[in-house]
């Protein structure tokens, strides 16, 4: 457990939570990043403006972190081909499952949505099984 960082994790979580509440309080929208990004890809979707502005904010926040605390942004250990497959699965899976870690894991669970609780348990289990296989069986 040598990398355990409970204080910064909780603090970051609280900030994430506040941003979720902020978007919902001011704009009545669920902060589900896969929905925000995914809906922009639909030719006839509504709500493109607010989604673009939100993603702009996300990128601006990323730039702030990169400038002030670049060590907080890390590279993935996965090889390029694995990253490709992973991205495809995350993108497709998030659309099929109608949510991701923010949409289901944070917003949905906060609403005590059974759908989101199930989705979160499933992707947690799936993620853990995947890491178990790649780290302890396949020896990748």
């Amino acid at each position: 457990m040598e990398n355990f960082t409970p204080v910064s994790a909780t603090l970051g979580g609280v900030l994430i939570g506040l941003s979720v509440a902020m978007l919902f309080y001011f704009n009545g929208r669920i902060l589900g990043v896969s929905n925000i990004a995914g809906a922009l890809l639909k030719p006839h979707g509504e709500g493109k403006s607010w989604r673009i502005i939100f993603i702009a904010g996300l990128l601006a926040g990323g730039a702030i972190i990169a400038a002030l605390s670049p060590d907080n942004i890390g590279e993935s250990p996965a090889q390029p081909f694995t990253l490709l497959i992973a991205g495809l699965l995350v993108g497709y899976g998030a659309m099929l499952g109608r949510g991701c870690t923010s949409g289901h894991g944070i917003c949905g669970i906060s609403r005590l949505s059974p759908r989101s609780i199930v989705a979160t348990l499933v992707f947690m289990a799936s993620g853990m099984l995947t890491v178990y296989i790649t780290r302890h069986i396949a020896g990748a």
Partner: protein, 169 residues
């Protein structure tokens, strides 16, 4: 003003991701690596975010509407079926392989990190693949929330049968 709150929410969300360590894929994989050198930090991230919102969510919904819009836009309640479970399963595999999910990947992409950018491109590709292969019935699963005080018996019946007028997104 409305746009500013959206923009600030995006910044705040990204800062939260960065401070919490979620923009470090190794740390995310560390949480999923229950048989290895397990790092429970992600549980605390979710705990902080969910803990706050379990309370705030209900408080916010006492309002008739959000500050800058006519209605809250809510996911329609749907059953827990094969699509939800298989979607989540596929998502989890990708998440476990890369240690990225949409928010952290986009946030990290700003640094032109090659792994983030590659993941983002593939992720957008996966989303597009879904859009072009699936019918557009997915538009039917959001609704405008009618404030409790305004609901008429017909509305209650509509809500109960999940046939509330659809706001297409």
């Amino acid at each position: 003003m409305k746009w500013l709150t959206i923009f600030l929410a995006g910044i705040l969300f990204a800062l939260g991701l960065g401070i919490s360590g979620m923009t470090q894929p190794e740390k995310v994989i560390g949480f999923l690596d229950i048989a290895g050198n397990w790092d429970p930090s992600l549980a605390f991230v979710m705990g902080g975010a969910v803990g706050i919102n379990i309370i705030l969510y209900r408080l916010i919904l006492r309002r008739r509407r959000p500050v800058f819009d006519k209605t809250f836009t809510m996911p329609r309640q749907r059953n827990i079926g094969g699509r939800l479970i298989s979607g989540a399963a596929l998502f989890g595999i990708g998440w476990g392989l890369a240690g990225y999910c949409p928010g952290p990947a986009l946030t990290s992409g700003v640094t032109a990190s090659s792994s983030a950018l590659l993941f983002i491109v593939a992720m957008l590709g996966g989303m597009l693949a879904f859009h072009v292969t699936q019918s557009e019935h997915e538009d039917d699963d959001v609704r405008n929330r009618i404030p409790p005080g305004d609901r008429k018996p017909a509305d209650r019946q509509k809500i109960a049968s999940a046939a509330t007028p659809v706001r297409h997104i």
